[in-house]
Amino acid sequence: MKRIVTLKTRNLNESKQNGGCGECQTSCQSACKTSCGVANQKCEKAAK
């Protein structure tokens, strides 16, 4: 596409089928302790 570059991203709709294992880190546990951001967490399904 000449005018549009699409970055590689995880498809959230698809993650509805294969996500939800719950092994990921608790968001607040790492650094901030005063806000809720989840997008910077890693998926840890493989680490199970």
């Binding site: 699409t6 709709n13 996500g19």
Partner: protein, 460 residues
């Protein structure tokens, strides 16, 4: 829903439901923005008129229109949010607990005026957690964690190193029992640095998956709030200790974490100080306090903070180009391997998957609620007895607040921090709007950084 924004010389389109990110030129940007609200004929006319001087042809517009349509058909633009109808299933998982914030010391050797923990005491008595209470907390975590393998424990306070011996014994106990239960403990230590010595460095770098080191940046900024009980600034005491710990840490994670207030909205200068000191894994958080406090961030500060977040993103791009990258916690988006939609809908897990434990073994939804009797959920012996509190936290998700219904960022914050909402509105289902505004700015910057990194590594 889409969110279009321009930053750092990039035009960015985020497709909210799919999570797709597109970097587009001006023509595509204008067409995408108007795509759903303008009939095709008018859209073409408007675009051709606007870009006539640049020689844009009807064929160019047709081609761009076709690309937009193709992305729509692929589910990467204007994709439907299919999560809301299933939000109960997505957000309401079985009540397993996978993380504890262990308040091993409700006391502190610093006297920071802005501390949400009220100098470590959480508005209660000074106290240290005994080994027996900590051990029971770890057993309780294992018993409550179902099939979860990874369990997180944060040694928190107050200042946890004021109870270092118990911390060491608890880690040894956890390591001793984790295999037989098919668990893996991941430990974090959050410290003000005052008591770091060689023994702490050796232990923390061996056993802690992460250490969070509190430093506010410039000496005068740090020492304004982060003082000893005798009123002496801590900068000169803690910085050499932090340097020694980080130098010896190798590849293991750490965060140099600061707080900025109304007195230093120019917080990128504090980030620069951290960089100059040799630290490169950074976090800098806005102070959370009642609006009446003299150091509370104001509406007038907000445009300054927006500009600071943009400057921070620019600093990161420049340093990356110079081969001296650094990380900033809130800009660490993982677009390809990031969290699934379950996590994005359900959020941090406070009050459900994540609880705080006081020195006497009481359970609270998270560290920020400790000491508030309305949020006392039970204890580590009886478990969660106030299931009504847990149920209220279970209902907090990316779709539970009316203000989030038309917000593009809801799958990045999951509806926001319940503690901040409670402090701002008196309701965990409320909205801390100031925090939302800063959060959205940070996510825009983070996405822009990802765009810059992707295009610089693959300019085609």
């Amino acid at each position: 829903m889409i969110h279009c924004f321009k930053q750092g010389g990039y035009n960015i389109v985020l497709d909210v439901a799919s999570g797709s990110v597109h970097v587009v030129d001006d023509v595509a940007y204008d067409m995408i923005e108007a795509f759903e609200s303008t009939p095709k004929e008018s859209l073409f006319q408007n675009i051709l008129q606007k870009y006539a001087a640049q020689g844009l042809t009807e064929q160019d517009v047709e081609e761009c229109y076709g690309d937009i349509l193709a992305l729509k058909q692929e589910g990467k633009l204007f994709s439907e949010d299919t999560f809301k109808p299933n939000v109960e299933a997505l957000a309401k998982r079985s009540p397993v607990i996978k993380a504890l914030c262990l308040h091993v010391a409700h006391t502190c050797n610093l006297d920071c005026e802005y501390c949400f923990a009220a100098q470590g005491k959480y508005h209660g008595e000074r106290a240290l957690m005994s080994f027996e209470v900590g051990k029971r907390a770890l057993d309780f975590l294992i018993e409550s964690s179902g099939t979860r393998h990874n369990l997180e424990v944060d040694f928190f306070g107050g200042e946890p190193l004021m109870n270092f011996d118990v911390v060491k014994r608890l880690v040894a106990y956890a390591r001793n029992i984790e295999k037989e239960h098919n668990k893996h403990f991941r430990f974090t230590l959050t410290t003000n640095g005052m008591l770091i010595d060689d023994d702490v460095i050796d232990f923390a770098n061996r056993e802690m998956d992460n250490v969070v080191l509190s430093l506010d940046g410039r000496k005068e900024v740090n020492d304004r709030f982060r003082k000893t009980v005798g009123g002496v600034g801590s900068f000169d005491i803690i910085v050499p200790k932090f340097k020694k710990l980080v130098d010896a840490r190798g590849d293991k994670s750490y965060y140099m974490r600061g707080t900025f207030t109304h007195f230093n909205p120019d917080f990128t200068n504090d980030i620069q100080t951290m960089l100059d000191l040799g630290f490169d894994e950074l976090s800098m958080e806005p102070v959370v306090c009642p609006p009446t406090d003299k150091y509370a961030l104001t509406e007038e500060d907000k445009p300054i903070l927006y500009a600071q977040y943009e400057r921070l993103a620019d600093m990161m791009i420049q340093r990356q180009r110079q081969g001296r990258p650094f990380t900033f916690y809130h800009y660490m988006l993982d677009l390809e391997g990031g969290p699934c939609v379950y996590k994005r809908v359900s959020g941090c897990g406070s009050g459900t998957e994540y609880l705080a434990v006081t020195p006497t073994g009481e359970l609270y939804p998270c560290h920020q609620f400790v000491g508030d009797p309305d949020f006392l959920m039970g204890d580590i012996w009886q478990g969660v007895t106030r299931t009504d509190i847990r149920d209220r936290f279970k209902r907090c998700n990316a779709y539970s607040r009316p203000e989030c219904a038309d917000c593009w960022a809801r799958l990045y914050c999951s509806g926001g921090c319940a503690a901040n909402a409670y402090k701002a509105t008196g309701d965990i289902q409320g909205t801390y709007r100031y925090g939302c505004d800063l959060f959205k700015k940070r996510i825009e910057c983070a996405i822009m950084l990802k765009a810059a990194q992707a295009l610089e590594s693959d300019p085609t």
